[in-house]
């Protein structure tokens, strides 16, 4: 059985299931309750700025913790809690705020196990909203998953649809490693069929969402719909595209990437982030290393420019990758 839910509501459902099935799961973050933990009064809670955690504090009053605006303290506390027996799920409201709390991820969560010679587990999940599309401007619109994906010891996942969101989040929470779970603004409000009940989508497995033999469009999170749109347009010109949804940015599903490359010989990667030190570059580097013999054309990256995210609607639209730019990149290959 399934019903239509937005990605945000699929996340909410996964959180509820995770908390029901494991008493060690706690939720922490700014306004994840949202005033709703005022004991003894009937004030309604907001459940986060985007309402994603609404209703959870009522269901689990001792395990949903509103925090001060102290990202370094929140993340560091969550790492300490994770290393000592809890399974915290932290909401970092926007991934842009990584600047205030990178150390607990970079130098603690990601490294404790290694530094301690394998004698630690840090089952931490960080949920965070990524990307542009809401005119939230330079400090609330970045696609900084390239930073977390680049840090050994962390995993990073990014669903493109509600069903994957639910299953990936359940996997993330139950994973004994620290996982960053990205909710891309471009797909956060989009609805889709979501199975009921408890299920997991494995971390590290990409998904081929459309088959074609002429070119491989590789996307994830908010760029997946753009890939599909471009594939439609290309199809009307007789070019059939494979569309691969990476879903997991670290680990990368290298086999799936090489498999589609082998089929098509042409790769276009569509990534919402800025170009340098990017997931898209890593995919291109993989193609030109292990996939070299299959390559029939330059690997193209359709990305944001090397700039901050602008506020103005017209500039933000120009900043974001588009189906038109993907089509153009494919055309340049043939």
């Amino acid at each position: 059985m399934s019903r239509k839910l937005s990605l945000g509501m699929a996340v909410n459902e996964a959180l509820r299931i995770a908390m029901e099935t494991d008493p060690d799961v706690i939720l922490m973050g700014e306004d994840v309750a949202g005033g709703g933990d005022r004991k003894g009064d009937d004030v309604d809670e907001m459940g986060g700025v985007l309402g994603t955690t609404r209703g959870l504090v009522k269901a689990f009053p001792d395990r949903v913790l509103d925090t001060p605006i102290s990202e370094m303290g929140i993340l560091g506390t969550a790492v300490g809690a994770a290393a000592t027996g809890l399974r915290p799920v932290v909401e970092l409201m926007f991934i842009d705020f990584l600047g205030t709390c990178l150390d607990p991820l970079l130098n603690q969560a990601a490294k404790l196990r290694y530094m301690f010679g394998g004698n630690a587990r840090v089952p931490l999940t960080v949920r965070t909203v990524t990307g542009a599309g809401m005119q939230a401007a330079a400090q609330h619109s970045q696609s900084l998953y390239w930073i977390t994906a680049g840090i050994p010891g962390l995993k990073t996942v990014i669903p493109s649809n509600p069903a994957d969101a639910k299953g990936l989040l359940l996997s993330a929470i139950r994973d004994d490693n620290p996982v960053v779970f990205c909710e891309a603004k471009l797909v956060l409000g989009v609805s889709g069929e979501v199975p009921e009940g408890d299920y997991e989508v494995p971390i590290g497995k990409a998904k081929l969402v459309r088959g074609g033999n002429d070119v491989s469009l590789i996307g994830f999170g908010g760029t997946l719909p753009i890939c599909l749109q471009a594939a439609e347009q290309l199809a009307s010109d007789g070019i059939e595209a494979d569309v691969l949804d990476l879903r997991s940015l670290q680990p990368l599903d290298e086999d799936a990437i090489l498999a589609t490359l082998t089929r098509t010989g042409r790769v276009v990667i569509v990534d919402e982030s800025t170009p340098r030190s990017s997931v898209a570059s890593d995919v291109a580097a993989l193609c030109v290393d292990r996939g070299f013999d299959s390559l029939d054309a330059p690997v193209k990256r359709v990305m944001a420019p090397h700039s901050p995210v602008p506020f103005s609607r017209v500039l933000e639209q120009a900043f974001l990758p588009s189906a038109a730019r993907v089509v153009e990149a494919v055309r340049s290959q043939v």
Binding site: E30, D31, G34, G35, P68, I69, G73, Q135, F311, R313
Partner: protein, 324 residues
């Protein structure tokens, strides 16, 4: 009270300009004419105006996500601000910044800031410049109660105290950080006590009363300018609207809110005091109300008629091109 009639009228004009500006933005966002995350300053006007009225060209301010009030108080042009919020090329930041990054460095307004607490070290740096270049200026950081829980607050105040920088740190304690009541996350009643961690001077003002803010800020600024070091000034205030436009306000006590709005409105408060003391006449205030209304209507009109930025602008202004 050492303010002249002209100064009082100017202060009132700023209070009113902020209120009307914010009210108008609320309308525009609800009407779908303006986008982005929009945090309004209505209710807190006395803080920005009470402080900024005493600042000059050499003084700088840093602000927050709730930054329009500080811009207006520091003298940024309404027309350029409105165009900015409409995302137009004529905006004070060419439409690239928007509400959370609105700035006007020429007027010493070093920017709204989308990162809670991030303006605090920036102001500390501006104070360091003032000290090293002996400009005589003071740097003022405005920030919320919630921001005082950020590490940047702690680190900055400590540095400023160690170096006796000419910096004024203004807490706008409006009782909430987003939807969370301040008392849930700050275990002290007066946040001003946090100054003691740095042996820093502190003051508390009624943030709904322009004259109290003015007096405390005067004391603080004199202290800063005399080279004795930074000051922490806590202003107790309230935001009249939601955290952002769209906030359903389910989390806040309606009666409490009504009390603040009906009985402690900083504009009303100002008017009552100046009228009672016969310092200005009601007609003069009403005239200002009208002028401001027209000014804002004109700003909206010109902004809506202004051109969008060229898409090539997406990639400009990332670097100083010649390198220096």
């Amino acid at each position: 009270m050492d303010l002249t009639r002209a100064e009082l009228l100017e202060a009132y004009r700023k209070l009113r300009r902020i209120r009307s500006f914010e009210d108008k933005l609320g309308e525009l966002v609800v009407a779908g004419k303006m986008g982005g995350f929009m945090h309004l300053y209505a209710g807190e006007e006395a803080v920005a105006v009470g402080v900024c009225t005493q600042l000059g060209d050499k003084d700088t301010v840093t602000s927050t996500h709730r930054g329009h009030g500080h811009c207006i108080a520091k003298g940024v042009e309404i027309a350029g601000m409105m165009a900015e919020l409409f995302g137009r090329a004529t905006g004070v930041c060419k439409g690239k910044g928007g509400s959370m990054h609105i700035a006007d460095i020429e007027r010493g307004m070093l920017g709204a800031n989308g990162i809670v607490g991030a303006g605090i070290p920036l102001a500390t740096g501006a104070a360091l410049t003032a000290r090293i270049k002996r400009t005589g200026g003071v740097a003022v950081a405005f920030f919320g109660d919630g921001a005082t829980n950020q590490g940047a607050f702690h680190e900055s105040l400590n540095m400023a105290a160690n170096w006796k920088l000419p910096a004024l740190y203004v807490i706008e304690n409006n009782g909430f950080g987003e939807f969370t009541p301040t008392e849930f996350v700050v275990p002290v009643k007066d946040i001003a006590v946090r100054a003691d961690s740095y042996a820093m001077k502190s003051l508390i003002a009624d943030g709904m009363d322009f004259f109290d803010v003015y007096a405390k800020a005067a004391e603080a600024l004199a202290y800063c300018r005399s080279g004795r070091g930074p000051v922490l000034l806590e202003c107790k205030t309230y935001r009249f609207a939601g955290h952002f436009v769209g906030d359903t306000l389910v989390y806040r006590d309606k009666e409490e809110a009504e009390d603040w709005i009906q009985n402690r409105d900083p504009l009303q408060n100002f008017e009552t005091q100046v009228l009672e003391a016969s310092l200005v006449e009601a007609e003069a205030l009403r005239r200002i109300d009208l002028e401001v209304q027209e000014e804002i209507a004109a700003a909206v009109e010109s902004a809506e008629a202004a051109p969008w930025p060229d898409v090539a602008e997406t990639e400009t202004d990332v670097y100083v091109e010649d390198g220096g």
